[in-house]
Every structure is written in C-alpha cells, then in structure tokens.
C-alpha cells in the first residue's frame, strides 16, 4: 500500500487534510513530524496555516527544513497554503521572514488598500475564487476556472518564473494560485476545504508519479 506523510509542525488543522485524503484514496495516511517516517513515505504533504514567522520557527526547530529539502527532490510533494508560501525564498509577513527557498520569489502582502475597478477589496482574501489552470496532471478531471477555497492575506505574485506558475487567480492583483516544478506542486487554496474540486486534486496527487 502506498503511503502519504502529512508533515506535522504544530501549525494548523492537519486532521482536515488527513481526513480528506482518507476520503479519496486507499493510501496509508500518517500525520507526523518524525523524519524517518516522512522519509519512508511515497508522497509528502506540507500543510500550514497561521503566521509565517511562527511556521518557519517551528519548521526549523523540528528539522522539517532539512527533511523537506530532501524529500522534495525525489517524490511527489504537495504544499498547501502557508505550506506553499514556505517554499518561496522569503515572505513580507512579520516584517520579513526567510523561507525554505525551493522556489525563487517573495511572498507579498495584499496591502491595506486593495482595489478592483475602484472598489475596495477585503483582506484576507477569503472564500471561493476561480483558478485559471495551466497544464499539469494534478488538474486532471477538474474544469478550468473551477472555484477553490482561499483564505490568506499574503500571496505569491505571478511575476515569478512563468514555468513555475501552475494556476492563477485574480483578487485585486494576479496571484499564483498554484506553483509547480518537477515533482513539487503547491496550492495557495485549501484543497481539503474545496469540496469536489479539491478532493479531485487530492485524489490526483495520491495517484501522481511526480512526472509532468
């Protein structure tokens, strides 16, 4: 039986991610911070909610940074929300935080005066927004422009290397809804909270061989 390790570094609602996977696939699901368990898993998920400074502090304290840089090289790897942002070089949050640096680019703040067509937009960006997909196996069976559930105040711009952008969303600015490189895929939205579309993406991940 294939296995999925969900990295537990004390940030956020990991049970949602675990139960969503349990709902869609027959893999053995383990929520763990144990490096040996993570390293022996076929697929690895880095979730996360909350403030970036706290997330990175826990990631470093538990040695998750080392294990992530290792397993993200050689097997299907999925980052979710702050788990996606943590893959970038740095974040503007908490007056600047160094992140894992797997992807070039900085995580930006939406700002206090975000507008679309003159209308002020609320921050956090909270709710169901559409994602314009780019070609990737994890979108299989999901209509382009399907809605996913977002909740965040910081975002990865679309101005990063275009080969890394897997999906885009509009909210006052163009933001990367998903990023990709080789065997790594990461989403700003929460697939585990995005009903059918989200569950399909998790199912696709559970079957993905990491090839494009």
């Amino acid at each position: 039986m294939s296995s999925i390790a969900i990295i537990d570094y004390g940030m956020g609602n990991l049970h949602s991610v675990a139960s969503a996977f349990e709902h869609v696939c027959g893999s053995s699901i383990q929520v763990t911070s144990d490096p040996s368990v993570i390293e022996s898993a076929d697929r690895v998920v880095l979730p996360g909610v909350g403030a970036m400074r706290d997330c990175m502090a826990e990631i470093k304290r538990l040695g998750v940074d080392e294990i992530v840089s290792k397993v993200s090289k050689d097997r299907p790897f999925l980052g979710i929300c702050v788990g996606m942002q943590a893959l970038m070089q740095s974040s503007e949050e908490n007056s600047g935080v160094d992140c894992l640096g797997l992807f070039d680019g900085q995580v930006k703040f939406f700002g206090d005066d975000l507008r679309e067509n003159g209308q002020r937009l609320k921050v956090p960006h909270m709710g169901w927004n559409q994602v314009e997909q780019r070609d990737h196996p994890l979108w299989h069976g999901i209509d382009n422009q399907s809605r996913f559930y977002f909740v965040h105040s910081y975002y990865v711009p679309t101005s990063i290397d275009q080969n890394l952008v897997a999906g885009t969303t509009r909210y006052g600015v163009d933001l990367s809804a998903a990023i990709m490189r080789n065997n790594v895929f990461a989403t700003q939205f929460h697939p585990e909270k995005s009903q059918h579309a989200g569950l399909q993406l998790l199912k696709n991940f559970s079957e993905w061989n990491g090839q494009l």
């Binding site: 609320k122 956090p124 909270m126 709710g127 559409q130 909740v151 909270k193």
Partner: protein, 257 residues
C-alpha cells in the same frame, strides 16, 4: 469573475442534536448534525457554521465529538461558535477539525482574548460575533449598540466602533447578527450591515432575520456583506441552498454555482 459571495447555513446544536426542528424530507433522523451538515454540503453550501448552545460542561465533550464527525465528512470550511472563552477552547475545536471559531461574549468582556487568539492561531480562524441592536430614536442619526445575553443586556458599546476595534485586534471576520430583526423574518438590518461592512477591512457575514431569498440578496447588494448566514429558511426545507444561490446569481451576484 472573481471571489464569490458565500452562503453559510447555521446549525444550532444542543447536546449533540440540532435544535429548532430541522426538517429535511429525505432525512429521517433530522436532529443529527452530521446528516444535516452533509445535506447542506450536497446542496452547495459554501461553509457551515455550528453554533453550540449546550450549557453543561459534559455536553462540551459531545460537541467536540460532533465537530470531529462533521469535519471527517464535510470538506468545506466549518466554523464553531458558542462557549469559546479560553485559548484551550479554541485549540480543542481546531484539533477536532473546525477551521474557524467564533468568539462572542468573551470578546466583549475581554477584548484582549481576541488579540491573544489571533496571535496564537492566526486571524484566518478567528471570527468575532457581534449582536447589534438599534438604539437611536426615529429621526436621530442611526446608532447601534452591542448587546449580550441574547439581546437582553446592553453594553454601551457602539457596534461600528467595536467592529473596527475587533479588526484591529486581529479578527479575521465579523459575524454580525442584527437583533431587531432576529426571528422576525423581516430581513437583515441593512443599515448596520452596511455601516460595519464599510468601516472594517475584513469580511462581514450578515445574520439574523432572514425570511426569504431576497433578504439574502439584499444583504449583499444593499448591506455590502461578503457572506450571508441563515438558519431556519434552510432548516424547514422552505428553500435549498441551491435555490438561494440561483436567486442571488440571477441578480448579478457572483456565486459558486
């Protein structure tokens, strides 16, 4: 194109059972919150709010168990409110599978609790619930005050100023219940909804007094709400969430259909 407005059905739960008599024709055991939540999920609810009105301490364990079961079956965001007074209460609910908690009275008596909660768990999971009632007389500049204890106790706090303060303290969202209308089914108090939606940078959920689908649409178009919450119009099977979304979408409101 863009972010959709949300419809949030609310379950009032006591000792693990939905109260206020839920009646779905095709659910035999209408009082089971897990079944009710699944039904709303199937109908296309954008989130679910679970309001725990259990008074006893023992009952709280039942609540945690119920939240666990809902979270294992429903893959949309789940907010739990009622009796959230300590950091430990928040942690218990998040660990059980809630995505957000709603803080009501505890915020009024101890606003620092909101700050502490937001710092510890992140603003994204902290909803501050406000019960507001109009206190200005006819012809006066409109003014709304925060009430506690189901609308019986005035606090002297101005609802708009209080909402701004809660946003500054780190609330990620405001759940605004307009008390005048609650249960009367004459629609949201659009005046206070608009005043608060314009005053705060965070999303506002309108609640209280929904009697028909137009009330939901008005909450967004006239009240400026980002999400609309309703209980009884869905519970009694008068309308489905789908019908509500269609009605709102027909008026040009961006919805997830």
């Amino acid at each position: 194109m863009g972010l959709a407005k949300r419809i949030i059905p609310c379950l009032d739960v006591e000792n693990g059972r939905v109260v206020k008599g839920v009646q779905f024709v095709d659910i035999r055991d209408a009082g089971d919150p897990v079944q009710v939540a699944k039904k709303y999920d199937e109908q296309g609810a954008d989130e679910i709010t679970f309001l725990d009105i259990t008074a006893s301490h023992e009952g709280r364990d039942t609540t945690i168990h119920t939240v666990e079961k809902i979270a294992a079956n429903v893959f949309i965001p789940l907010t739990v409110g009622g009796g959230i007074r300590k950091v430990e209460d928040i942690r218990n609910m998040l660990n059980a599978g809630a995505d957000k908690v709603s803080i009501n009275t505890a915020a009024v008596f101890n606003p620092e609790f909101v700050r502490e909660a937001a710092e510890k768990f992140g603003s994204q999971c902290i909803v501050v619930a406000i019960d507001a009632k109009k206190v200005s007389a006819e012809g006066e500049e409109p003014r709304w005050e925060i009430f506690t204890h189901g609308g019986r106790k005035p606090t002297g706090l101005d609802a708009v100023e209080w909402s701004k303060k809660m946003a500054e303290y780190g609330a990620g969202e405001i759940l605004l219940t307009s008390m005048d209308q609650d249960g009367v089914k004459s629609g949201y108090d659009l005046g206070v909804t608009r005043a608060i939606a314009d005053a705060v940078p965070i999303p506002v959920i309108a609640s209280g007094g929904v009697g028909n689908l137009q009330h939901l649409a008005d909450g967004v178009t006239e009240g400026g709400a980002d999400a609309v919450l309703a209980a009884s119009i869905f519970h009694f099977g008068e309308y489905t969430v789908q019908e509500a979304k269609k009605h709102m979408s027909d008026q040009g409101i961006e919805m997830r259909l």
